[in-house]
Symmetry: D2
Subunit: 201 residues, 4 copies
């Protein structure tokens, strides 16, 4: 008997690139039978947002990397979670993260560390990307490989600074984001089954 | 029907302080019915180590913080996991971490980030400490509080540089480490139930 | 012939604790003959701010640690430096950092890493705290020691969550912040002398 | 009157790729009149190493990124600096860092953070790369650009896992490493001039 689970995607996007990545994460969750992706823009801190996040089995955090860190809009959202933090409201929920920037590295790794630290502050369990590195990792790799950017903590996307969101990030990075959504949804399902089995005993 | 699970504690200790923390993590796992802590010193990279870690449902990484990072002995172990990494052998396993140093902060946070990065490299799922901060976090806190050091990513312990392992870290830090072991064991049990339920369908 | 130099302190404070730390950094700079501290609240992004920071020989970044990272107000400031970044306007300037939080660790180390990453984005040269760890680092330490919190990348202060800025952070943390201001001012003076000697040749 | 300064390059290389990067850093220092690069392999912890590092005006730390962090050989070197640390022997010296890995990101950013943390432990002043991001940062970038990888804290190089050191890292990454050596040497010269001017007053 499959548990129905929800993967919320709590993201901010400045110019639309990270929004495409967020939509891909949600699609990846939707692709798992019994799971549903729930896209939530955190630039609007209303009651609907908090209800959705409280109800979710997993929250995937996403933000552009601006000057080497998640955006101020995302951080304002993080600060607005303080009452949830104080109540330990999200403890044991799954979490994961993704980020987009123009630079190939561009301190995206630092931004993902920050997202993982936020999850840890809440006592949330961190689901990594779970893909081997592609792209230039070996000479047989291609720019179309999932995880062409060689990330581990979460999903990375890279959008040249002079391309709009209709043209970037490239398909490989959206496939990578979909994978993260699927990964989180599958774990959330397994965990929901395990937790309800425990209750049933 | 409870699944039997094992929480391996893969640690290095230079002078014995981190070993006491490791033993506390294992005790915390043992305290959970259906769970077993399995203490493994990673300074010895033999076949028994790899078999134990492969068989474990969760691996808790532990190391002193030396000059701001996990020890070279721990890092040698991390490098020796490269074949497991290439085979994606630990993907989906649970992971967590702990560290001890003399300084109150002493870059222990950086050491825990490094342990979480290692877990992410393996596609392992990171279980944070899950305790609210104690100690000086408020004036009603005491030095005997669990998580007196205010850690989130994992368990911290602090041992003054002139005290041997018979006298440090203090009981509060060992209680904190026990909590981490319990936290990991409970999640590992829930997940094992969920994964076997999936197979059973 | 002493070069006159300015150490700007670019800070955000939510409740006043970090403001006291910032004032201490400025005092520490003022204490160096030939140097001047220039306190700048970055919650107001006006022309006077940018002129002051452009004119400064060093910028010390300061923010509370909120949910494990610098505040959204500080990050909004960081994002507003993008035009300076694009023009490489602060390249070669000195930088340093400080942070306050309620938890003893509380991911302050992660916040300092983020400040150092911001400096690196700008090509700024990072001046660390430069103090040995005090406090519980050894049994002969006391809570009144400079650097009682055992920080390295920058200055840390810790204010219990139920004390207002009139009562926290404690004097030891303000002494630590003063030290950082002095450290930065002395290096800025030496560097200014060296750079003018170069021009004079 | 130019001060003669030395930039030590304290590196470990497992397979030769990082050694080529290290040699490029030293060349970049040598290219500055009055400066000298001094290449030092830290896998040999002998008296000559410590004398060279103590005498240097700047130390550039370099290591491959293995499993997301500097190598165990490099960390063993870091631990062997403990007596220097206790004596505050390198306080005020300049520091910088570089790393090579097979993945495009591959947690190289985390490895550079660790090198910066080591420098901060010693009270050393961190010199960042100081180059704008190249490569895919914009559609007008090329794979031959300096800083094609978009690093800030230090110099990154990327070598596909199936290419030996005769074929990787690519020339762009060696140019980037040279730039770091030049950057450090120029600052070391300016600082040496300023510090001797101070003494002369």
């Amino acid at each position: 008997m499959p548990a129905d689970i929800t993967v919320a995607v709590a993201f901010h996007s400045g110019h639309g690139h990270t929004a495409r990545q967020a939509a891909a994460v949600a699609r990846g969750a939707d692709a798992v039978p019994g799971a549903r992706g729930d896209l939530r823009d955190v630039s609007r801190l209303d009651a609907a947002l908090w209800e959705a996040l409280d109800a979710a089995d997993a929250i995937v955090f996403g933000s552009p990397t601006y000057m080497g860190a998640p955006s101020s809009v995302f951080q304002a959202f993080a600060e607005a979670t303080a009452p949830v933090w104080a109540a330990r409201g999200w403890r044991g929920k799954l979490a994961a993260g993704f980020t987009n920037s123009a630079g190939v590295n561009g301190n995206k790794d630092n931004a993902l560390v920050r997202l993982a630290v936020l999850a840890a502050q809440h006592g949330m369990v961190w689901v990594p990307l779970g893909l081997a590195p592609g792209g230039d990792y070996s000479t047989s790799g291609t720019a179309g490989d999932p995880n062409r950017l060689g990330a581990f903590l979460g999903a990375m996307a890279q959008s040249p600074s002079d391309l709009g969101p209709e043209a970037a990030p490239p398909p490989a990075d959206l496939t990578t984001a979909e994978h993260l959504g699927t990964e989180v949804a599958e774990l959330a399902l397994a965990l929901a089954r395990g937790r309800s089995a425990e209750v049933a005993r």
